[in-house]
């Protein structure tokens, strides 16, 4: 196996804060193969672990497909703007693996072009996984970033130099025909909740899926605002360090003065009374608590309704911004809970 691709895959995992998951992968391979500590390194610094991973591939202790599968999960499941939909009757009839089947299947063996740092073209693939149709698109996205080293400020002059940054971006259209649900996951591209960039990326992704997909005809955005008060009430599965809501006479913000992991849930503040139907929110900043035995994992999301103009008509889309690179199971959990709170279910 040429070492360049495994190196790139290992680096991508590390860059996406996936050190723990890479350790887990290497450890499970070492245990399965009954190898000694010297044969596969499973701990160390990020750099050491990156090297250990591609060496494990070179030594044939780890298949490159295992490394690629971890990259896939990291790229597909986190650091995304996740737009949530139900399928309309027309959508259920029109969207299928066949209608989206004009896209090629992903390669069976990882290739340089599939995992390129900056894909030369917009490439779209479709696959069926566990009864779901999954469309994955790779492309090179760009944004402007201030170049601090070349920008300057004096008493009488300000010079701001911005440089175009180009990065690999992965967008996903995930359809569950059985449940008649769909989600569009848009790469956040840069390390912030940039709504303009998300809007541009969303529009470009939709265009590339046409004519198989028509947003207004085939998909119905989740009514996210109805979920907000129910999420706020769900104390046993959420944590909030900030809440901003308004009633007919005042806007109120409650923000914890302590950092994450130190302070109380802001809803425990004696003066917090922002529950019930009198209070409305444009967004909700919430940590979802996922418990496994004694372990508790917190998944941070900012959930909001966002306006999107399509053919002159405005629609409000339901969006969950998920900044961290999380697992498929964690993302599925968060999406399922948001859907639950936006539904009629008790």
């Amino acid at each position: 196996v040429p070492t360049e691709l495994p190196q790139r895959l290992a680096r991508r995992i590390i860059q996406a804060q996936g050190k723990g998951r890479l350790e887990q992968l290497l450890r499970s391979r070492r245990n399965r193969l009954g190898l000694g500590r010297g044969e596969i390194q499973v701990t160390g610094t990020a750099e050491q672990l990156e090297q250990a991973a591609w060496r494990a591939v070179a030594d044939r202790h780890l298949a490159i497909t295992d490394l690629a599968a971890l990259v896939d999960e990291i790229e597909e499941c986190g650091a995304k703007h996740v737009f949530l939909f139900n399928m309309t009757n027309a959508g259920a009839a029109a969207i299928s693996y066949t209608s989206l089947g004009r896209f090629q299947s992903p390669p069976n063996v990882p290739t340089e072009s599939f995992y390129a740092d900056q894909p030369s073209a917009r490439r779209t693939y479709s696959v069926t996984r566990n009864g779901r149709t999954f469309v994955k698109q790779l492309h090179t996205a760009s944004y402007w970033e201030r170049d601090e080293s070349r920008s300057s400020e004096s008493l009488d002059e300000r010079i701001v130099v911005s440089r175009r940054q180009r990065v690999r971006a992965v967008n996903v259209f995930n359809i569950d025909p059985g449940a008649r649900t769909a989600e569009i996951r848009i790469d956040r591209v840069r390390n912030r909740d940039d709504s303009n960039l998300a809007h541009e990326e969303f529009a470009a992704f939709l265009d590339s899926l046409a004519p198989g997909l028509h947003l207004r005809e085939h998909l119905e955005p989740l009514d996210i605002r109805r979920a907000f008060p129910r999420i706020v009430e769900a104390r046993d599965e959420t944590f909030m360090s900030i809440d901003h809501a308004s009633d007919a006479s005042a806007r109120q913000i409650f923000a914890s003065r302590r950092g994450e992991g130190h302070g109380l849930d802001i809803r425990d503040h004696p003066n917090w009374r922002l529950h019930g139907s009198d209070y409305v929110r444009d967004s909700i900043n919430v940590y979802w608590l996922i418990r496994e035995g004694d372990d508790e994992n917190r998944i941070h999301t900012i959930v909001r309704g966002v306006r999107f103009a399509e053919h002159g008509a405005d629609v409000e889309l339901a969006k969950a911004y998920v900044p961290a690179h999380i697992t498929e199971a964690e993302l599925a959990h968060v999406i399922a809970r948001i859907r639950h709170f936006a539904s009629d279910a008790p």
């Binding site: 390390n191 912030r192 360090s241 950092g259």
Partner: protein, 128 residues
């Protein structure tokens, strides 16, 4: 029973007994409301009517008595929640992604707050 460190304050400043007692009442009330509260001179000064500098001095002395620990917090300029909290200023990065508003912020001293938090020993003395 006095809160941890307050007997020492009384010994060190016998002429300020009333001020120290007022500070103790204010800190006790703060911790009763929320044991993880941020404890800082400006707010305690308003509550006790003592000068900010004097309250600050007492808080530093309580830190020396292991009753308080200092913290620095980076506050979101948009929504004013604490973005990140550290024991020391040097642990703060120059840029960070804000979990409060979702944007990215560059280090700005105007957005840094310094405060104290109660140690477990102080909390224990408050319970007894």
């Amino acid at each position: 029973m006095s809160l941890l460190g307050f007997d020492t304050l009384h010994r060190m400043h016998p002429d300020r007994a009333e001020a120290i007692a007022a500070l103790e009442v204010a800190i006790r009330r703060t911790l009763a409301r929320n044991p993880t509260s941020a404890i800082e001179d400006q707010r305690l000064s308003q509550q006790t009517k003592l000068g900010v500098a004097e309250v600050g001095q007492f808080l530093v002395e309580l830190m020396r008595e292991s009753a308080l620990e200092s913290r620095v917090a980076w506050v979101c300029p948009t929504l004013h929640g604490t973005v990140r909290e550290e024991n020391d200023l040097s642990a703060l990065p120059t840029d960070l992604e804000c979990p409060v508003c979702g944007q990215s912020h560059r280090y700005d001293p105007a957005q840094i707050e310094v405060f104290f938090v109660a140690t477990p020993s102080l909390l224990q003395s408050a319970d007894t």
